[in-house]
Symmetry: C2
Subunit: 339 residues, 2 copies
DNA sequence: CAACTTTTGGCAACCGCTTGCCGCACCATT
DNA sequence: AATGGTGCGGCAAGCGGTTGCCAAAAGTTG
């Protein structure tokens, strides 16, 4: 396979040009703007390029065109299965559009997020911020100089895809009350999380409307390991059901409750959020507010690419709301007469 | 914040040079080769750069230096939790070294893998191939022109980090025989998987040595959804215990067995492999051959970076074997007297 | 057939940064 | 004072493409 030119390095556009007997500009056009050159010429160039195994350097291309054909995805924690579904969604969609995904873990830190945004401004054509920890002002500033889409972080300052957790909370409440629960506890996630605030607010408002007795524990780190503390705290409130910030935490609670002999759902019903990998096979399977996370990632990419494309810019949607639904599994049940 | 120069675009090295009253070359050196310039000059330049909010373009830098400071991670399926852990490991290590990770899903296709390797040769400084589907010859060819490290795919042609599954299989067999099992079934993964072949071979050899009755079913796609077919096939063999290609498949089997009323571990013991997220909280919790997957990712990065660094090149390790151990949980138990 | 358009390809100037080479200044030797 | 280092900064030639502008060739039209 002819992989190297006379100089021993990868073939460049010049090598192709020389071999095809045309100027480099013609090669460039033949490859990226086919209509601009004569068909016969183009075919000859394509043939030579194929023979030489020529691959245009995206670096060089980016230098003159100013585009990198890469977009960065910033997630607070690659460890969290929730983000894996986003990663998967964006990855798919980006690949389909011929973009490369740059994955960055911002370690739940707003500073690191801002820093990355700054450092990579030249590296990526656009950014997708999943569950951003930035302030509205920071997002505004960032969005003024680069293409940005946020996921689960509504802000008037950048196009957003939000998952309709409020809607899901209503469904969960509906479900729990229909099972006879009246004392319900909200198990909170990170204080800096926008969606946590939203979920809590909806929970509180809706519970009040229904005359339920509510309590709240937290904040907890959204990891299974925090489940023990969360379970203990929730148990102390005397609630018969919990709506938990996310599945990770809920699964952790399940384990702790079992250890303590608190039966789920007989003694305590648990509703998680997200329907992550594992929610269907934990013990008992988790009733959860299912979010189309992967789809959210895909939509975010579409919105971002639309922003990038001068044709659509401005006309594109600024907000996408992803519908949710309650997936009922084994972790919720009727309130037991004894409790 | 001064983010743009007179021309309205992001500041370049020239803007900095002009403002600092030096040549661009001096700026370049001050920033990337500090010892080469006078301290006072450097500090002045640094100050101006900070003021201007200057960020060097990695594209341009790459063009002249020939390096991109990015490495690509190719995984067969981003969906699979096993790869999550690898992604996490490489991500961490790469970030620490100042590299960017390019994540690519090759969709279990050797062709796509080869294609990516080719297309990205200019985009990445090196490649990490997780569970590569390529042939030895293809790996050899790729490794001849670019830095490559493989994970779980031993081949003399590129440095590799392998997870010692054979060792784990021995431990699993030991465990099962000590529980009284004599009829054991191996539930196979993808035919194209190198580690699957390895595991099976070890299983067979070791079982023979111990005089066990073995059977084999498969190949199955390593997904929970294939668990049903796998469980049915395994049940038919009359085995009292299964060693399963990976946890995903094992978890799927667990579900199916429960549906069918086959009790785990009373009627059937199950040993998975990898100890992925979820293995500890499925029902029953899965006994599994735990692999330090994340660490494998980290080691792979170290080996790759060593390869890239002219100082270490050649002297670096070509093979790293990650130790494994059996994690015993609820899915294995003594063979029941009735079976 | 002249005049005019359109198509097609080449020239050359970048894009932003790196780096080999050169030369000036300044200091230490002899 | 002449000589030789050494430190430091500038010049300019790339790296591999893209693209505006121009001119030659080919096609159209009355």
């Amino acid at each position: 396979m002819a992989e190297t030119n006379a100089r021993g390095s990868a073939p460049t556009i010049r090598d192709v040009a020389a071999l095809a007997g045309v100027a480099t500009s013609t090669v460039s056009r033949a490859l990226s703007n086919p209509d601009r050159v004569n068909r016969a010429t183009r075919e000859r160039i394509e043939k030579v390029a194929a023979e030489l195994n020529y691959v245009p350097s995206s670096q060089a291309r980016g230098l003159s065109s100013g585009r990198t054909n890469a977009i960065a995805l910033l997630v607070p924690d690659v460890t969290n299965p929730f983000y894996f579904d986003i990663i998967r969604g964006t990855q798919n969609q980006l690949k389909a559009a011929g973009y490369t995904q740059l994955l960055v873990d911002t370690e739940e830190s707003a500073e690191m997020e801002a820093d990355t945004l700054q450092k990579m401004q030249r590296t990526a054509d656009g950014f997708i911020l999943a569950a951003s920890r930035l302030t509205d002002a920071q997002i505004l500033e960032a969005a003024s100089s680069q293409a940005i889409v946020t996921i689960n972080r509504s802000s008037a300052n950048a196009p957003t895809v939000v998952i309709d957790t409020p809607g899901a909370v209503v469904q969960a409440l509906e479900h729990l009350t229909s099972l006879g629960h009246t004392r319900i506890c909200y198990v909170g996630g990170p204080a800096s999380s926008w969606s946590n605030a939203k979920r809590w607010k909806t929970f509180e408002d809706e519970s009040r409307d229904r005359g339920l007795t509510t309590s709240r524990v937290g904040p907890f780190t959204p990891k299974t390991t925090s489940g023990a503390a969360a379970a203990d705290a929730a148990a102390r409130t005397g609630a018969t059901a919990c709506i938990v910030f996310n599945d990770l935490l809920a699964i952790g609670m399940l384990q702790r409750l079992r250890e303590r002999g608190i039966r789920v759902p007989e003694d305590m019903s648990i509703v998680g959020c997200d329907d992550i990998f594992g929610a269907d096979f934990c013990n008992p399977p988790l009733t959860t507010m299912a979010s189309p996370i992967e789809q959210a990632g895909r939509v975010a990419v579409s919105m971002l690419l639309a922003q990038l494309d001068p044709l659509h810019a401005g006309s594109s949607r600024r907000l996408a709301v992803m519908p949710t639904h309650l997936t009922v599994r084994g972790s919720t049940g009727p309130v037991s007469p004894t409790s």
